[in-house]
Amino acid sequence: MAILTLSTLPLSRKLALAWLALLVLVAALAPVLPLAYAPSTPDLAHIAQAPFGPSRHWLGTDPQGRDVLSVLIFGTRTAVLLTLPAAGLSALLGALTGGAAGFWGNSLRLEASYWLMAAGIIWWAVALPLPEAGLVGAGLGIALALAARGGHRTLPTWPVPMETVVMGTATTIDTIPRLVLVVAMAAGTGISTMGLLVLLTLTAWAHPARLVRAQMLRVRALPFIEACRAAGLPGGRIWLRHAMPLAIQPLRTAFPLSVAGLLGLESTLSFLGIGLPPDVASWGRLLGTIREEPAAWWIFTFPAILLITTILSLNKLSREPR
């Protein structure tokens, strides 16, 4: 089946897919590829050397004497290992929060016992004075919930302002352009790859959340959701099993675009010298070294071609086939 659909794709999409698969493969195999030079050890005897020269630097070296080919390959690894997880995590976070906000709005009501339980656990987790009081509160909440369930009594309920919280946070994050926000938060060099990943995820989830919420508002009004409710299924199960699979459809086209955006952001940050530590190979950082040696066209051309081809392939993938 997969082969069948693959063979019916138009040629341009096949090429785009093949290119992206090649990048992922290179990223995975980078540590075992037989490279003549390591990316972070400079070859000071050959500085800013043109490609296809007498030495074994096939694509030349940059002004610090690093081999362009190996920087490109390890830069691919950095890009893939950073943008794919960041896009995946932000899509997951956005789908969960946006889906919940769209499905329940502000109308989900929780019984007082659950509120007591949550407040007790939070009290205990942040170690407010007398943390044991929090545990006692949580225990009391559990007991109340069990008693109410056993005795079929109803406790007072309070609404959860889920939509307000999710959409308010998304608006807050979207107020300032992502680049300015990330630059301000990742001030200074030397934030780890993991830290940058978390930062990118936290600034990128708002868009998928909006998309999924908008789709969920349409899905929850469809007749089959009503049928599920009439059949007596619990709300959480309807949400996860029946509504979410439809609500996350917009992410199929948004995901490649999100990867492309994160790739551009990551290389811009590396180009500015903010974020990743200087010894991590990156396309953006390699592009930045052209300013030290403007005549060295190979420092600009090769990473620029890689970056542009990758972004165009991702854009191609995101367009729906007719």
Binding site: I173, I176, V180, F271, L272, G273, G284, P294, L307, I308
Partner: protein, 353 residues
């Protein structure tokens, strides 16, 4: 409409305050580094302490403490803090904390002083804005004008419709710094075309008119880079909206009474199709500030973006937080502008309110 616009603005003010607070509070993790970098003659001092040994180290730590006190970093960060001890108890710091001081100063219109230069942040921001506003303002106006012209032409389906669309879509995906670098390497490079200067922009104290020619040649490439990245989104959006409007009944009526296609677009469809473009405008102004970060670093312009990037590298937190606040202000301004333009473009909005 006025109420809606008011709530719009109120929400944005809240969001800007929340973001600036988050950036301010997150800066705690590097306060030591900030103090180290703000130390006078940091490299000399470290060399001296290395040579003198223990007494030098003691002197250095005294210097550090003095710097921390001068910058106000010796106060606790927030109203409550957690003790570092094993019991990790919370305790209340009262109003003598950095956050309280920052908010109070902000309400008095004081953005603080820069860690690095000791100047007022407002002064530095104003000096940087004097360089950035002409750049981003020109770019925004040019991009919108070019998008309106190009979108109209494209909607009339000329023969170059398809190649133009393809080119716009391709440029749309490119990161700004690649476009700007390519422009720099092509048109400001003695090896290729040395038509424009690559750097050396110096704003004059007595206004920009002192040397208009040099000013314009210095701004040409940065403005071109910003326009090239802003144009495709605006144009494609406007063209799609126009195409949709041209399929409506009133457009058919206009054609039936004998109007040329260009007149139908100009006098009938364009104003209706402008609404989504106005929405984009609200995102365009802050985005141009962000774009200025990249463009100013590449073309060595002493503007807002350079200031922000340098402040981020040097951990100059007052300047960074000031920059975030200013970007938020640009967003507020853009929202206000967009709301006013809605009223102009679609009078029905006025009647509904």
């Amino acid at each position: 409409m006025a109420r809606l616009a008011f709530w719009h603005l109120a929400r944005t003010v809240l969001a800007v305050w929340a973001l600036a607070s988050a950036v301010f509070l997150l800066s705690y993790r590097d306060q030591d580094a900030a103090a180290q970098l703000a130390l006078p003659d940091a490299s000399e001092a470290s060399a001296a302490s290395a040579s003198v040994g223990a007494s030098g180290a003691g002197q250095r730590s005294r210097q550090l403490a003095a710097v921390r006190q001068r910058l106000g970093l010796d106060l606790p960060l927030f109203y409550v803090s957690r003790a570092a001890g094993p019991d990790q108890q919370w305790h209340w710091n009262g109003p003598a904390n950095q956050y309280h001081r920052w908010v109070t100063n902000l309400l008095h219109g004081n953005l603080g002083t820069s860690f690095r230069t000791g100047q007022a942040v407002a002064t530095r921001l104003r000096a940087a804005l004097a360089c950035t506003l002409p750049l981003t303002g020109t770019a925004a106006v040019l991009a919108v004008l070019a998008a309106v012209v190009l979108g109209q032409r494209l909607a009339a389906r000329p023969w170059w419709h398809r190649p133009m669309r393809t080119a716009l879509t391709a440029v749309h995906g490119l990161p700004l710094f690649v476009v700007a670098l390519a422009l720099l390497l092509l048109f400001a490079n003695p090896d290729v075309f040395a038509w424009f200067p690559a750097y050396g922009f110096a704003p004059h104290a007595d206004g920009v008119a002192a040397d208009l020619g040099s000013y314009l040649t210095h701004l040409a490439l940065p403005v071109l880079a910003l326009v090239l990245t802003a144009l495709p989104e605006l144009t494609l959006q406007l063209e799609a909206a126009l195409t949709q409007e041209l399929r409506t009944d009133y457009a058919t009526t206009a054609r039936a009474k004998g109007l040329a296609e260009g007149a139908v677009i100009r006098h009938h469809a364009l104003r209706n199709a402008l609404l989504p473009t106005i929405t984009q405008l609200a995102a365009l102004l802050p985005a141009l500030v962000a774009g200025a970060v990249v463009v100013e670093v590449i073309f060595a312009l002493p503007g807002m973006g350079r200031l922000l990037a340098d402040a981020a590298a040097a951990r100059d937190y007052p300047v960074l937080v000031g920059g975030v606040l200013l970007t938020g202000a640009a967003r507020l301004l853009a929202l206000l502008l967009a709301d006013l333009l809605y009223l102009w473009a679609d009078p029905r909005i006025r009647w509904q309110s």
